[in-house]
Symmetry: C2
Subunit: 231 residues, 2 copies
Amino acid sequence: MPDRAISKSVIKRLPVYLRILDQLIERRVDMISSKELSKESGFTAEQIRKDLAYFGAFGTRGAGYNTAYLREKIIKIIGLDETIKTVIIGAGNLGTALTRYNSTKNPYVDVLAVFDQDPRLIGKKIDEINIYSIDEAPSFIEEHGIKVAIITVPAMSAQETVDLVTKHGVSAILNFAPIKLNVPEGVHVHNADLTIELQSLIYYSSAEDERLKRLQHEVKTKKSPKTLSLE
Amino acid sequence: MPDRAISKSVIKRLPVYLRILDQLIERRVDMISSKELSKESGFTAEQIRKDLAYFGAFGTRGAGYNTAYLREKIIKIIGLDETIKTVIIGAGNLGTALTRYNSTKNPYVDVLAVFDQDPRLIGKKIDEINIYSIDEAPSFIEEHGIKVAIITVPAMSAQETVDLVTKHGVSAILNFAPIKLNVPEGVHVHNADLTIELQSLIYYSSAEDERLKRLQHEVKTKKSPKTLSLE
DNA sequence: TAGATTGTTAATCGATTAACAATC
DNA sequence: TAGATTGTTAATCGATTAACAATC
């Protein structure tokens, strides 16, 4: 169906639909309309119908969508029909949180191992998952055919970590380090930059209008200096 | 300047520019062109110039942008010129990671306290920051005039937590719980949903075309059933 | 002055919304 | 059949890209 690639915005909404369907199925709801899905998700009904229509006609006119059927379809679209094997690089608090969360609450993902370079952590476990030395990552990734890695190392070592794992077969990276990663052709990076989320939230948090008016005033009265001394 | 509200896409790029400017200033670079900023950020030079132009004329034709001056301006635009007082609700691994990160690496934000309901955590500290009982959150938030809260509690208790904090003055929430929050008018929520990031990454991680072809085939040959038995 | 780079306007592209025929 | 709701096409809206005059 997709003659041209489907937009990122659409793809980002699919996991939201999946989560809602999982919840509905748990509550034994077996049909749902786009209008109800709209209420649960916050997206418009039109948008939901359009998103789904990119991939096929999954609903029944007059009735809505069968939750189990639509769930199956979305799982296949995203590629979650086979459990995704991942590794997490960086066993700090964030790495630990993600390891725990994904191994207990995310049935679509299997965290096979955690890697770190801190000798005090190597050999320990997070729940049932082993922490190995980063040196063992290459062979582990190759042996298990790992394609997806989650990077929670400090910004300073993120690039070298990514170089290492992509060299051994990783083609998708969820990056939590606040840095722009350079990766080979064909490798996908998603940045989960928590500072950016927080700062853009702060923009909205208060007095937006006043702040911008004040700023505008300053710009009008002073000139932007070429080499300046900030007074 | 902004006659209509500035788009979210623009606002999300501002923290990226800020980070790059911070790095440049540290490296004692004092002028930078939009072209160079493009290389550092991954956004186009045109887009960067346009983004900045929404707020004023901060550059110098022929020369570029003074890094310190532009940084000051962006800080004011986002609203980071006064340190932002925040609290983190949920002292699990994710809450701990965010507390540590923001108190050591994010100079624009001040984490004043962490709250949790687990008696084993209450009274302890994360670095220098106290963990209090969630019951103390209302008075703490009011006394310190907290406007921004970071929610890292389990999905199950996220809504009641948000109800509690918004009732006492919080107007901006960074939500890590995988759930749609209902908030009063005027309260801003940013969802940092790590599962969604991971799942949408997986979509791109491999064999996208093949998967969709296979799916399309299935849809063509079978019919979408109204009440179905998934074979 | 010549070269460089901004700020801004116009053109293009893409995504969302609206409308409605199809159909269960 | 009547009512409901999808799937799809058309209209609108918004964001990005391109182009270039302004100007340092």
